[in-house]
């Protein structure tokens, strides 16, 4: 009876007839009983139905089709620490200096520590950290990493204001701010510089604001002592610092309305008359004035869910072919030279192209669609006589053909079908894909130029091991990388291409696939300049140019080198081999050098990279002492040193305790959320039952006690 009542709402009208029959019920006991029962049933029905409405309301707030778990503890999705960022970028010549101000506002009523893992440009050199509390500004200094952690930790426990900045990867940093008073904010200013990319006659500046969650290969290690745990991942056998580089990723609507927005202002002083400034990622508001431009996004504050990319080009015909900059720092001369080789087309070579495409879960969403169209575009560039293969990888790698096949109709048709069916999910086991691509025998049909095109978002935590693998397995191949998505790991893409003696490009949106790939495939036809020889004038001093041995140059890419201890006089000679074996050389008058700043830091960063590279080539750990010395002397961050800043007086009273909050990063635009919160999977049933039984027993006991005296 009860069951059918619940199941069949058609029975419900009975309830109302019963209620309407109320006056008549006075006469009939039977009717009164029916009324009682139906009222109870109505109450039960209410209980049954009510939660549905409550949940349905919450459901409306979700976007359709988006992966999301309901969580009753909504408080956890609103971080207590709210983050505000401001990028002030000043571009001068080939270097961009940025002041990145992060404001950590404590919205809770408890003292808080804010922890934020964030990306910086992959070639960024961090050279300053300042902390501002109200009116007071305190300048930070560099200390060896372990010591800096101690300094910070001591200050945090002593209740002092303190901040630290640590490097995990060349493009991944953690900033910690201790003892933010409730309801107040602490500002941390990070200063860094980055080289401006100059390719194909166009300058490009990239400011990453978030990161694609990285895959951590290897088995999880036993619970790490979680003193500095700040991420969703546990350290694994292959990524020892996985827990430090895996910030929680949330959708924009999961953070406070004012949080995770950045104000961006860029001033460009190019020294050349500018034709236009554009951006594939944001709509810009630009004020052009000859060689200067002031640029900001149209929106006052942009959501930190994608890289900010700004491009500018000089008026046609005035694209620089060479440039020299000079700086004197602490009595030492620093020179930076840029030389663009002649653009010539070489003979058409027969190629063996192996396309490797990342179909891991982090590519889900727009990224996989872009990757597919990039690969299809790549297949189009194949000519008769070329051979090719396609490898996809996620948790496992799979090759379409056992060995490269000729670029003929039916093979190409099969490849196109294969590519169109690619779906993204699973892990990012890149090592397997690399060994498959680099270990594959050449197909029949004689000598070919072997090239690998690697299409990925680079969202892995074991970059270093992969670079080693590329270096040792490369043989006579060249590896080219194509970055996909709104926030690719540019460090991986650039370095993988460098170790693979190739080139890299990045696609920001579907509309850019053609443009970016046309250039890459044009460059892949042949390196423009090989056997590069750079001769600086001999002034009797040992030169330490960075990069020490520049690799082959591709079409549209300049040579950039920085040297120390050379005054701006004499001639720089650059020579090399053009395609087809012709010799090419040019010379540059150093006396024409334009003044610049930050060259010493650029050089120091380059030296640190050189030392790390040298160690990798010898299979050793890098020379920590030498790197630390360089880092401290030039005031730039390194893998072994961190910035730390401490205010001497105590801020937090001893009676107050402090919480700690890891600030999440935003999910890159266009990607599918892959991180799910665990759902709430317990009910109040046991608690209610226990409480109810307890109460009943208690009242029964009292009732019996009460009755006894009366008896």
């Amino acid at each position: 009876m009860l069951l059918s009542l619940l199941a069949n709402p058609a029975v419900r009208p009975d309830l109302f007839t019963a209620r309407r029959a109320k006056p008549a019920a006075k006469q009939s006991r039977w009717l009164r009983m029916a009324e009682g029962i139906s009222l109870w049933l109505a109450v039960l029905l209410m209980l049954f139905v009510h939660p549905l409405y409550a949940e349905a309301r919450q459901m409306d707030m979700e976007q359709p089709g988006q992966l999301y778990l309901m969580n009753d503890q909504s408080a956890r999705q609103q971080p207590a620490v709210i983050l505000d960022s401001e990028f002030q970028v000043h571009v001068s010549g080939l270097l961009a200096q940025t002041r990145l101000t992060r404001t950590f506002r404590n919205a809770s009523d408890q003292w808080q520590e804010g922890i934020f893992v964030f990306p910086l440009p992959d070639k960024a050199t961090v050279y300053g950290l300042r902390m501002t509390i109200g009116e007071r500004e305190i300048v930070g200094h560099i200390e060896p990493k372990a010591k800096a952690r101690q300094t910070y930790e001591r200050a945090r426990q002593a209740g002092q204001h303190a901040a630290t900045l640590e490097q995990h990867r060349p493009n991944l940093f953690t900033s910690r701010v201790a003892n933010i008073p409730p309801g107040e904010s602490v500002q941390v200013e990070i200063r860094y510089q980055q080289p401006v990319a100059y390719k194909h006659g166009e300058f490009e500046l990239r400011l990453p604001t978030t990161l694609t969650p990285r895959y951590m290969p290897g088995d999880p290690l036993a619970e790490t002592q979680g003193q500095w745990q700040s991420g969703w991942a546990l350290a694994t056998t292959e990524v020892a610092d996985a827990h430090e580089i895996s910030p929680f990723t949330v959708r924009p609507q999961d953070v406070d309305g004012g949080s995770h927005r950045a104000r961006i202002g860029i001033e460009i002083e190019s020294g050349l008359a500018l034709a236009d400034v554009s951006s594939p990622s944001h709509r810009l508001h630009t004020e052009l004035d000859g060689a200067r431009a002031t640029v900001r996004p149209e929106q006052e504050k942009v959501l930190m869910d994608r890289d900010v990319i700004v491009r500018w080009r000089p008026v046609a015909g005035s694209e620089p072919k060479a440039a020299v900059f000079h700086q004197t720092w602490q009595g030492e001369d620093y020179l930076m030279a840029m030389v663009l080789p002649l653009e010539t087309a070489g003979p058409v070579l027969r190629r063996e192209l192996v396309f490797v495409i990342d179909t891991s879960g982090s590519m889900a969403g727009d990224a996989i669609a872009q990757a597919r169209s990039a690969l299809l575009k790549g297949l189009e560039t194949l000519r008769p006589g070329d051979s090719f293969n396609v490898i996809q990888f996620n948790s496992q790698a799979h090759a379409l053909f056992a060995q490269p096949v000729p670029a003929e109709g039916h093979y190409l048709a099969r490849a196109r079908r294969y590519v169109q069916d690619l779906r993204a999910n699973g892990g990012t086991e890149m090592a397997g894909a690399l060994s498959l691509a680099l270990g594959m025998d050449s197909g029949p049909g004689g000598e070919r130029v072997r090239q690998v095109v690697f299409i990925t978002d680079g969202a892995v935590g074991n970059e270093s091991a992969l670079f080693n693998q590329i270096r040792s397995g490369l043989a006579d191949r060249r590896l080219f990388t194509v970055g996909i998505g709104s926030a690719p790991n540019m460090h991986f893409l650039r370095e993988a291409a460098r170790w693979g003696r190739g080139e890299f490009t990045a696609i920001h949106s579907g509309a850019e696939v053609d443009r970016a790939l046309n250039r890459l495939f044009a460059a892949m036809e042949a390196p423009v300049l090989t056997n590069l020889d750079v001769r600086w004038p001999d002034q009797g001093q040992p030169l330490e140019p960075v990069p020490a041995r520049p690799g082959d140059l591709f079409r549209g890419t300049p040579l950039v080198q920085v040297v120390r201890g050379l005054s701006a006089a004499g001639q720089l000679q650059v020579s090399g081999q053009l395609p087809g074996g012709r010799h090419w050389s040019t010379s540059l008058d150093l006396a024409q050098a334009a003044p610049a700043s930050g060259l010493n830091r650029q050089w120091a960063r380059g030296r640190i990279d050189e030392l790390t590279d040298a160690a990798r080539l010898q299979g050793q750990t890098p020379d920590e002492q030498q790197i630390t010395e360089l880092s401290v002397r030039h005031g730039v961050i390194s893998p072994f040193t961190s910035f730390v800043v401490v205010e001497q007086r105590r801020a937090r009273p001893e009676t107050e305790s402090a919480g700690s909050q890891s600030i999440p990063t935003l999910l890159p635009a266009g990607s599918q959320p892959g991180m799910l919160r665990y759902p709430q999977t317990a009910t109040f049933a046991p608690l209610f039952t226990a409480l109810g039984l307890l109460g009943l027993m208690f009242s029964l006991a009292i009732a019996m006690l009460n009755r006894r005296p009366s008896l």
Binding site: L3, L6, A7, P9, F48, P51, L52, E55, A56, Q58, M59, L67, L69, M70, R76, P213, Y215, M216, W232, L234, F248, G361, S362, A364, N394, S395, R423, A424, N425, G426, G427, T428, Q672, G674, M675, L676, R677, Y678, P679, Q680, T681, A682, T683, F684, A685, P686, F688, T689, A690, L691, G692, L693, L694, G695, L696, F698, S699, I702, A703, N706
Partner: protein, 193 residues
Amino acid sequence: MSRLLLLLFGCSATVLMFGLWIPFKALVAQELLALAWAETQARQVQARPWPWADTWPVAKLEMPELDVSMIVLDGLHGESLAFGPGKLVAGADGPVILAGHRDTHFSHLQHLAPGNPVRLQGQDQHWQDYRVTSIRVVDSRKELINTHALAAGTLLLVTCYPFNSMDARGPLRYVVEAHPVYALEQKDTVAAL
């Protein structure tokens, strides 16, 4: 005094009723769901178990070792979890995540051990066999489910932990990971082809 006592008695009885109501609802709902599931399979439509329901049966879960079977509902929100375990498929053919209340449907999970079989029947009446590979207790404040790192086809059964706790909002979760097992005959036919 007797009024106070009556009040206490009434309150306790109500609280007890609320407490008993949840498992009762879970039990009754499964019966209704069985009917809806039969209809779903017969007519290949999304049959709602009762007209005002916000969810519908999407699968049937069996744990042969424990001799338990239950109907699985769509979605991991509280509304479906009240009546049965909820199912969510992450991405196109990503991992399958089932979550259930530890005090009702998924109380059985505590008896599952690695190596035990688990079966899941989809709307197409096809039974997929899984084998439990690992069981972990995770802290939901520190860890998220990283669906990208899970292999396609993985089955995750999630419930709260510890099983006999009174705290309905505890942070710990009991996660059973199972991987699909493909019948040997299937492989043979592929090889023969």
